[in-house]
Amino acid sequence: MEKIKKGVRLEHISKIYQDPKTGKDFYAVRDTSLVIEPGSFVTLLGPSGCGKTTTLRMIAGFESPDEGEIYLGDEPINELTPNKRDTAMVFQSYALLPHYNVFDNVAYGLKLRKVPKEEIRERVMNILDLVELTGMEARMTNQLSGGQQQRVALARALVIEPSVLLFDEPLSNLDAKLRVSMRTEIRRIQQRVGITAIYVTHDQSEAMALSDQIIVMNKGVVAQMGTPQEIYYHPVDEFVADFIGEANFLKGTMVVREGEKVTLSIDGNPLVVDGRPDMQTGSQYTVVLRPEAASLADQGGMPCEVVLSCFMGSYQNYHVKVGDTLVKLEEHNPKNKRIYQVGEFCSLVFDPASVHVL
């Protein structure tokens, strides 16, 4: 696979749909610009209806953008029909050809490219080896398990050596365990081949496990793009913070600034955190606190009341009330720790360095 790696660039892309009920037009994707680096694994993540699949389908050419331009490498591809684009897609439903066996499914794209027979055989066998389906080539697709069908779909997309590999929620039809092992597999194969991959999902843990970069989308626009760590630890707004993992939002007023540090008053409790230069004394700010970053103690933090205490195996799940704000937290490895019961008054403690001010 000695091919020049290509990236994908979207410039001010919009897609307009008509609401079938009201007949009104709305933006499915609005003025979106993205740069996807060659060879990277990028995930489009968001709730359903956020425009992630539409974006992917525009890159594949199944939808054409109403505004803006899409580039594959440096070449604008808006005018190219899907069959002329150098992309290959792995579909949610796998979309295997039910009247062909595994070999013919994988060979399908090559045959229509008039690749010589021996070469087809060699390339298909190599790919089947890569996805660990050697020996299955004569099976019909309905004789395969979900995970195997998924591998065939992946092999079929890889074998034509596209510049970009597109995934449309490929694991959503698999059971939970298989989903986890397949995503490791997809990541392994993508890194082996070194291909640019764009992956659509609504499952944040999948996005975390797979991606070099995550693009969080909401209501047709990009909310944030960054590495999984950036997105998790430094979300730009409440939507991103809430969508990626669990998040608690503590509202507080800034009281004083001392160099880098600022002090916020949360329900009367002072909290000293790393501040941003634009923060104003007297303004309201929201602090993101992840459930695993906090724990309960008899004293020393913010006073709170336990409203839910639930044993989850690897952690004890608490909901506590700090003033009027509900805070969820996870006390990991709870075996030898003191368990607080519902109705108890105690103290919410956390390392100020682990919170993030929006």
Binding site: I16, D25, F26, Y27, A60, G61, F62, S64, P65, D66, E67, N78, E79, T81, P82, N83, K84, R85, T87, A88, M89, F91, Q92, S93, A95, L96, L97, P98, H99, Y108, G109, L112, R113, A153, R156, A157, I160
Partner: protein
């Protein structure tokens, strides 16, 4: 308003544009234009210039005409109701109990539905007619039975032939009721009968009315049955159209056109009534857990089987009677018993010419039906656009326009320049294509709707052009749906009478027309032999098709 970018490819580069255009041209030429000409024709008269209501006035003034309207409505409404009485219980028993010989009764129902249009009437005449075997036998014992000619006989024959529509529509709906719905009713303390009346029936009612509508339309359009059983006194609208057209030969069929308009209006009204009714009660069901078959044993099992057996056996009886009689000696116009092949031997060359006509026409029509059917169902399901709805509507037209009306349309339109087609084989084939295409399109579209569109997208995505993808993947995968629809189209083509009898010029007679003419001319031996050949041919095709498609035929 948001601004959209214009589509980048010009319309003439899109192959589907040409497909749509082709379909519209075909329908415009062979449906819209002919039908418009008889609308115009209906408001014309040889006696006055310009437009006139004279034909309609004549129709509603003379009892000869408006009586036929009453008769037609009667023999459509009554069979619809009785078909519900037969079809709904049969559907219930067949879907809920382990009835003995389930598959056989199902096949018999389909066979009765797909039998030649005059067969039921003919068999009933053989048994209970003026010189029928049962009538003669009972007369010897001094018993006279009520006449089968007229309203009662026609209604009985049509009920027995058409009840399978109700059975099939209803059992389809009963199979898709989620069993938890009925369990819930039971759980809330509802008894079996009450559960059936308050839960099961309301949910399947839309399907029953859909079936009843098809029965109504088929009965209203039926030509063979009232022709044989109506005699001189009981005429229906399709019979009138045929008679008027015969007596107006050389004329322009003004009155026949007016009658045609009236019959189409009746169908349209019924269609609208049914649609409005169903629109208010649309229960979409997808059975997560389809209802389980109840296992009964011994006498109980006999009890649930008996009604099903009686219904399907009696409706299948005509086919047995006709086939058996075809081996009897005849004496001019009556059967005299014994066993012989002479009825078949006497057919001679007429058999071969009508047989070859039947197969040439129906198979030629099939080629067009399959190709147009595949393309059209794809356009309707996947490329709907602005014109898809119109296509869907055009496809309903052949259900609404009875065969004899379409026959008249063609005679009126294609008898004069610019397109003279009357008396040719082509016009019969065209009428087959237009009238029987919907079976194939409906079946293929239903199949296509279940198909995952991403299979096509995957192929295009792998670099195969959309057109090549269509033929290599989509059309290939649609074949089972196309096949089962096409078989129905084919069998109904073979048995088509009402339209082709008006379009045939004698040398173009098909098996069905030949059989029917022989029966009307009272040459009972040839009539029975030809009907038997027709019945067996249709049955064989259907049974082979059922075997291949594993019983999945949607009527």
């Amino acid at each position: 308003m948001l601004k959209r970018r214009n589509i980048t490819i010009p319309f003439y580069m899109d192959p589907w544009f040409w497909v749509k255009l082709m379909v519209f041209v075909i329908f415009a030429l062979f449906l819209v234009w002919p039908f418009s000409s008889i609308i115009i024709n209906a408001f014309k008269s040889s006696k006055v210039d310009g437009f006139t209501m004279a034909n309609f006035e004549k129709f509603f003034r003379k009892k000869y005409y408006y009586g036929a309207l009453k008769n037609s409505v009667g023999i459509s409404v009554v069979p619809s109701l009785f078909a519900i009485v037969l079809g709904v219980p049969m559907a219930y028993l067949m879907t809920r109990y382990n009835v003995w010989g389930k598959k056989i009764w199902h096949v018999l129902a389909i066979l009765s539905l797909m039998s030649p249009p005059f067969l039921g009437a003919y068999a009933w005449i053989m048994l209970f007619g003026r010189a029928g075997s049962v009538t003669t036998y009972l007369k010897g014992l001094g018993i006279t039975i009520p006449t089968i000619y007229g309203f009662g006989g026609i209604s009985t024959v049509l009920t027995l032939k058409l009840y399978p529509y109700i059975y099939m529509y209803t059992s389809g709906a009963m199979e898709s009721i989620d069993s938890s719905l009925e369990e819930c009713a039971e759980n809330l303390g509802s008894g079996k009968l009450r559960r059936f009346l308050t839960v099961t029936m309301p949910v399947v009612t839309p399907s029953i009315t859909a079936g009843a509508l098809v029965v109504f339309m088929s009965a209203l359009a039926d030509f063979g049955t009232p022709m044989l059983l109506g005699g001189q006194d009981f005429r229906t609208l399709p019979v009138l159209i045929y008679n008027e057209y015969l007596s107006e030969i050389g004329g322009n069929g003004n009155l026949a056109s007016a009658i045609s308009i009236i019959i189409v209006i009746i169908t349209l009204v019924m269609l609208l009534v049914q649609k409005t009714y169903v629109n208010r009660r649309n229960y979409i069901m997808s059975a997560l857990r389809p209802p389980k078959e109840i296992e009964v044993h011994g006498f109980k099992r006999f009890l649930v089987t008996l009604p099903v057996f009686l219904i399907s056996f009696i409706s299948f009886l005509p086919q047995i009677v006709v086939c058996a009689s075809s081996f009897q000696h005849t004496n001019y116009s009556s059967f005299t018993g014994g066993f012989t092949f002479e009825n078949y031997q006497n057919l001679g060359s007429r058999l071969w010419s009508s047989m070859s006509n039947t197969f040439t026409y129906s198979l030629t029509a099939m080629v067009f039906i399959v190709v147009i059917g595949i393309l059209m169902s794809y356009v309707i399901v996947r490329k709907k656009g602005k014109t898809g709805g119109l296509l869907d509507m055009l496809l309903m037209a052949p259900y609404v326009i009875p065969g004899s009306v379409l026959g008249l349309c063609y005679i009126v339109t294609f008898n004069v320049k610019p397109l003279v087609l009357t008396g040719t084989a082509a016009i019969i084939i065209i009428s087959y294509v237009i009238r029987k295409l919907p079976y194939t399109v409906r079946s293929a579209s239903a199949f296509l709707m279940q198909m995952d569109p991403s299979v096509e997208e995957a192929s295009i995505n792998l670099g195969v052009t959309p057109m090549k993808t269509f033929w290599k993947v989509t059309a290939r995968l649609m074949l089972p749906g196309v096949f089962s629809g096409a078989i129905l189209s084919w069998v109904t083509c073979i048995n088509e009478l009402s339209c082709s009898i008006m379009l045939s010029s004698g040398k173009n007679n098909t098996l069905t027309i030949e059989a029917y003419t022989n029966i009307v001319r009272n040459s009972v031996g040839s009539g029975a032999a030809l009907s038997a050949i027709l019945t067996v041919t249709s049955a064989l095709i259907l049974i082979i098709c059922l075997k291949i498609s594993k019983g999945k035929i949607r009527v």
